[in-house]
């Protein structure tokens, strides 16, 4: 009997938690869709030139990078596969995007969910972003030092 009571309260608590989450998640998901509809990412791509230069990535990397960062690793990777097939990006660049997105992706949704559970969203977001940038930059140096650029062409 005690166990049934325990389960009932656990289920009630959990549903309450998810309902609280829904209050934030639903508006944000709608806003993300609207941003996608107005092709906001395309408009942003020109603005991250400095960041791309620091990461030693070409301008073409902006779109898959931003898409993965905001909409998730699945969409980011799908775009990357597409770019790879069309030969828009070099193997080296694809790998670097993969490393960046591994560490930091779907930042809006993830950060929001954890914020509802009591985490500090600003610390969460900055830690992940800084780490992604630093590690990608280190990887870029390592790749360029160890292999001549020619061998990495598609």
């Amino acid at each position: 009997m005690e166990i049934l009571y325990l389960l009932a309260t656990t289920i009630a608590d959990t549903i309450l938690n998810i309902a609280r989450l829904a209050l934030l998640l639903v508006p944000v998901m709608v806003l993300i869709e609207i941003a996608r509809y107005y092709q906001l990412i395309e408009k942003l791509t020109g603005r991250i030139k400095g960041a791309l230069e620091f990461l030693t990535l070409p301008q073409e990397a902006a779109f898959p990078l931003l898409a993965g960062l905001f909409f998730g690793i699945v969409l980011g990777s799908a775009l990357i596969i597409d770019y790879a097939r069309e030969g828009i990006l070099k193997k080296r660049d694809l790998l670097l995007i993969g490393i960046f997105l591994s560490i930091s992706h779907s930042v809006v949704e993830d950060t929001l969910i954890f914020a509802v559970f009591g985490a500090n969203p600003i610390i969460l977001l900055t830690t992940r972003t800084i780490l992604a940038i630093v590690i990608t930059r280190i990887a870029a140096s390592l790749i360029d030092r160890n292999s001549p650029v020619e061998s990495l062409r598609n």
Partner: protein, 144 residues
Amino acid sequence: MNKLIAPVKTGLVKSAKLLWLLLKIIVPVSCIVAVLEHYGIIEMFAASFAPAMSYFGLPGEATIALLLSFTVNFYAALGVLGAMTLSPQQITVLAVMIGICHELPVETVVCSYTGLRIPAAAVLRISTALFAGFTLNLIYNLVS
């Protein structure tokens, strides 16, 4: 205004799907954790991991959240998070670790299309998560 109907609808449908997914994962995980906790099994498990977790300023129970996040996904980890009493510092440290490293079986495969090999991606993310948790806890302790 009419143009907005389609994206708003997509957003609502996606939210509904995500919330349903969350319910399907978090409710059973929370129940299992609650039962295990009731019988003191979590406590036994947590005690053996307490020394390792202390590097991140986290209680031993956090191991379960981390392992669930690494292997299943971070929604499953949320089920455990709800059952633990953590300080804001601890929740943030744990959230950073989970945010960096989650759902490895699925995401490393997805990411392998970029040329990042699966074992390399797993090692990268686990070590980054551990490093981030350790460093962030250190900074928190220094600041406060």
